[in-house]
Amino acid sequence: MTAKKASPNAIESANGFFSITAEVNGRPLTLQVGEGEFLLDALRRHGLKGAKKGCETGDCGSCTILVDGQPMLSCLMLAVQAHGRKITTIEGLGTPRHPHPIQEAFVKAGAVQCGYCIPGMILATKALLDANPSPTEEEIRYGLDGNLCRCTGYVKQVEAVRDAARILKNAKSK
């Protein structure tokens, strides 16, 4: 038995699961998600482990994903909320062979130490630079204030975001 549709503006679960459709990293997907399951858990259960489990209370930002282009905390979302939305995880940004310019900038600047916070921080950077291609240092720090890093003092990350902004701007003007 599959989950049923209650009305155009509602879905109902069946056997403990909702069947939701979402665009995940550019691909339309149908996912079975639990009735009270958090989006973070559902993404990881479906193999997208770039979103990290940190505090699970919305404080650390390691679970950050993009929902319709906006940075959101997947630990503070029910999986069913992804229904009909565009989800981007770090797996959707670049690949090990072809990293995204933001990922390259983070590596080049030495902004990655243990790496646990980095997927969330890179996605928050993506949202920041999409909205503001030339942020000031204050804007960078304010835009990344939800992503805690316990290894660094954020200096390298700020440098990386500046570099990424420059690279992306140059690429756009070419």
Partner: protein, 285 residues
């Protein structure tokens, strides 16, 4: 963990109200979710997500500034009316909200309905005499925000009653304001105290005053005795200090969020004094 069987995402307020009446106490209303998701009551069967409702707006009218309940903190930060009205206190409060993701997700309505003592908007809105439009059982009514923070309506909101709009009266538009937050770190959502002051000063004399506090107390609260000390007088550091002390008279029940009740008893009059002086353009002492 709640066993949610139905996820509704209505596109009109009446459709949302209909679903809520049908589900009775089995539904919860979801806006940004930052305060709700980790504390969904276990008996919840249905989540009514407001994401498709046309409640994300700010409209300047002759009588009031209307703010849709689903307006996010980021929307407030980007909005000109939030910067212009009442000395930009809405903008200042939104800017002080913990982190980027919470500002993107969290909504004005949710900050009132899921009332935690440290929520930033309740003290701001009660200082500005804001009203909330609530749809309850198919009926729409405006209530002062101060009235819905506790009692019967506070229990119904977010379950069977839907907050759709906040209105800030036009006389608040030109008021001088201050928003003061005391926290161990600026990005902390949970803070020791929030103090808001809104003053109307003409010819150097205070014509209207509103002083409120949040976080230090379980519910955001106004201090009428302190406000009366300011009205009709020229504001001086001494008068501001007197108002701060007057606010403390008979006040009990301080929270222990981030710091002790004893500390809050000491610090609140100081914050009130500073906020009054900041609102009327004086430097904090």
């Amino acid at each position: 963990m709640a066993k949610i069987h139905k996820y509704a995402f209505p596109s009109t307020v009446s459709e949302a109200a209909k679903t809520l009446s049908k589900m009775k106490d089995g539904a919860v209303i979801l806006a940004g979710g930052t305060n709700l998701i980790r504390s969904i009551p276990p008996e919840t069967e249905c989540v009514v997500d407001l994401r498709n409702l046309p409640l994300r707006y700010m409209k300047e009218g002759t009588r009031a500034l209307a703010i849709g309940a689903c307006t996010t903190f980021e929307d407030l930060l980007a909005s000109q009316p939030a910067k212009k009205w009442a000395g930009g206190i809405l903008h200042k409060a939104a800017k002080a909200v913990s982190t980027k993701m919470v500002r993107v997700m969290g909504t004005v309505g949710g900050n009132i309905v899921r009332h935690y003592p440290y929520n930033h908007l309740p003290p701001v809105l009660i200082a500005l005499d804001a009203t909330a439009t609530i749809v309850d059982g198919g009926k729409k009514k405006d209530h002062p925000v101060s009235d819905i923070l506790e009692g019967d309506m506070a229990r119904k909101l977010g379950k069977t009653a839907l907050l759709t709009e906040i209105k800030i009266p036009s006389y608040a538009r030109g008021m001088n304001t201050a928003f003061v937050k005391l926290a161990k770190a600026g990005s902390m959502w949970e803070c020791s105290a929030i103090v808001c002051v809104a003053l109307e000063v003409k010819g150097g004399i205070c014509k209207r005053a509103a002083i409120s506090a949040g976080s230090a107390l379980p519910r955001a609260k106004r201090f009428p005795a302190a406000e009366q000390i300011l009205v009709g007088n020229k504001i001086t550091p001494e008068l501001a200090a007197r108002a701060g002390e007057a606010a403390m008279e008979g006040l009990t029940g301080f929270t222990s969020i981030q710091s002790s009740p004893e500390y809050k008893r000491e610090v609140l009059p100081v914050l009130i004094r500073r906020a009054i002086l900041e609102a009327c353009g004086g430097a904090a002492i």
